[in-house]
């Protein structure tokens, strides 16, 4: 299944590295990355793909990313990609 990881917060050294490292450790394959820095605000969006059986559950992923986000001063969400498809595509 595919999910969208969004990282929002203050720009800092190594955000991309830390988040992608966390993805790799949990068997999340990164398909696409876009990032923008507007003044100090950092916004990174990753599309990741993973096998439900080989990766942790959404509950654990949410918890892990919440902790990581807190550590690096950003807010990280991981959400099933269908939520965006259904809201923004007809």
């Amino acid at each position: 299944m595919k999910a969208v990881v969004t990282v929002l917060g203050k720009d800092n050294v190594g955000i991309l590295a830390k988040v992608s490292c966390a993805c790799a450790e949990r068997n999340l394959n990164i398909l696409e990355v876009t990032q923008s820095v507007l003044q100090d605000l950092f916004a990174m969006i990753m599309l990741v793909e993973f096998d439900k059986d080989k990766a942790p559950s959404f509950e654990e992923l949410n918890k892990d990313f919440d902790e990581l986000g807190e550590k690096i001063g950003t807010k990280i969400h991981i959400m099933h990609e269908d939520i965006f498809n259904s809201m923004h595509k007809i």
Partner: protein
């Protein structure tokens, strides 16, 4: 690939604008639980609800985590209990309320609706006893919600039931006067009650429904208000309506996705999505503030009814294309105590009962969560119910009354229910007595609008 701005828009709606799915409600038919032995019937009711809804809460919570959407309430609606209790005559139907409450407790749902009777044209076996037991049922249980349908466009208004409900609403408040009269906040009196409404306190599972269905109620007043806040004061109202429609479409798509997913995982047919703007007392989640964002100084000033009509219509137009089945109440709710903007307007005397009554002619429900003086005579409450039912009957729409008489409180005090129910000052009512009119009883005949065949 998904657009960055779309992704950020969704995240912003959830994080900052209170976007959520308000309720996933499982409707369960209890018709096969009927038994002349009331204890056996109650056991059947408890067992069936617990069997069908065993996975409701964990499944919905899993969906919420996976999609990152807050799903606030998990609820159950059942067949009106008056039908189930009819065969157990001479027995106190309150035992069914205990069984429903116990099931809600076991399953972890916050409300269970359906301690209800449909008496729009007359009372049948079981209806009287059930209605009489409502105040006690609401006082002695925590999760049970009750509703009574006293009128419809097709049947007219059952004024005997209207007369009775004035007294019942008062009793419900009196029996819970030590708990902010909360009993009355769980009792809705309807005209044209929908049979697939997922919202409490008026949810019940209609007899024309399948054995079990999933209905979803969306929300999102904060998102609509935020979208309107971005547009210029000079834009005309066609544009305002367009912005509301586009926003309602997105909100409803999310509700549709949750409904389909819940239906698939629970192996229960998908019923409807209720396209409603349901406010909460949280700041930034108010329907009144949407109206103010359109250009009204305060909700309740002249122009409020027109602004609400525009909003209600645009929400439906935007939402209807986003869902395969739309139903329930669908529109903007205007509860007073559950809406920060309404509470502020009531505190400043900017809104009163007559303006609210006018607004109910163009919104999706009716006089909702309004705190009235504790010494209001029963016939006045009945007359308010009759007025509201007349609006619903003539306009072929659902109207409802949920009044809370503030028993034991002084006129300058307020009732604070806490949580999603909010708080409200006591609202003044009109002068003059409708006693003789209400005492007449009988039926108000169905209007010409009923003769459509």
């Amino acid at each position: 690939m998904l657009e960055t701005k779309d992704i950020l828009e969704t995240i912003n709606m959830i994080d900052n604008e209170h976007l959520d799915v308000r309720t996933v409600t499982m409707g369960i038919s209890l018709l096969d639980c009927i038994d002349p032995d009331i204890d056996k019937a109650c056991e059947n009711v408890y067992n069936k609800i617990c069997r069908y809804a065993a996975e409701l809460v964990p499944t919905v919570e899993a969906i919420s985590r996976e999609y990152g959407i807050p799903i606030i309430n998990k609820r159950i609606a059942v067949t009106p209990i008056s039908m189930i209790a009819a065969v157990c005559q001479d027995k106190d139907p309150i035992k069914f309320a205990y069984a429903l409450d116990r099931a809600a407790e076991t399953l972890g749902v916050n409300f269970i609706g359906g301690y209800s009777a449909l008496v729009q044209k007359g009372f049948s076996a079981g209806d009287y006893a059930l209605i009489e037991s409502i105040p006690r049922a609401l006082a002695e249980t925590s999760h049970v919600c009750s509703s009574v349908n006293i009128g419809s466009t097709k049947a007219g208004i059952n004024m005997d039931a209207v007369k009775m409900m004035g007294r019942i609403v008062k009793e419900a408040a009196e029996l819970t006067k030590d708990n902010n009269c909360a009993g009355a906040s769980k009792l809705v009196v309807f005209c044209n009650a929908p049979e697939d409404n997922p919202f409490m306190a008026g949810a019940f599972h209609g007899v024309g429904e399948a054995d079990c269905v999933i209905n979803v109620g969306v929300s999102g007043p904060g998102v609509v208000r935020a979208a309107l806040a971005k547009i210029d004061d000079k834009e005309d109202l066609s544009y305002v309506a367009d912005v509301v429609k586009k926003t309602a479409f997105k909100i409803t798509r999310m509700g549709q996705l949750v409904a389909q997913e819940a239906s698939k995982r629970l192996c229960v047919p998908f019923g409807i999505v209720d396209l409603s703007l349901a406010p909460t007392p949280a700041v930034g989640d108010s329907v009144a503030h949407i109206l103010e964002e359109m250009g009204l100084e305060i909700c309740g000033c002249h122009g409020t009814t027109a602004a609400l009509a525009l909003l209600n219509d645009a929400v439906k137009k935007g939402g209807v294309m986003a869902s395969s089945h739309v139903g329930g109440l669908s529109g903007a709710f205007i509860p007073v105590s559950e809406d920060a903007g309404m509470i502020a307007a009531a505190e400043q005397d900017a809104i009163d009962i007559t303006k609210l009554e006018a607004m109910t002619a163009v919104c999706s429900v009716g006089l909702d969560m309004i705190v009235v003086p504790g010494d209001t005579p029963a016939e006045v409450i009945s007359a308010i119910i009759a007025d509201e039912a007349a609006i619903g009957m003539v306009n072929t729409k659902t109207t409802a009354v949920r009044l809370i008489p503030a028993v034991g409180k002084k006129d300058d005090e307020c009732l604070d229910f806490g949580g999603l129910f909010g708080y409200s000052p006591i609202m003044k009512l009109r002068k003059g007595s409708p006693k003789i009119f209400i005492e007449r009883g009988g039926r108000i005949p169905a209007p010409l609008q009923a003769l459509k065949n």
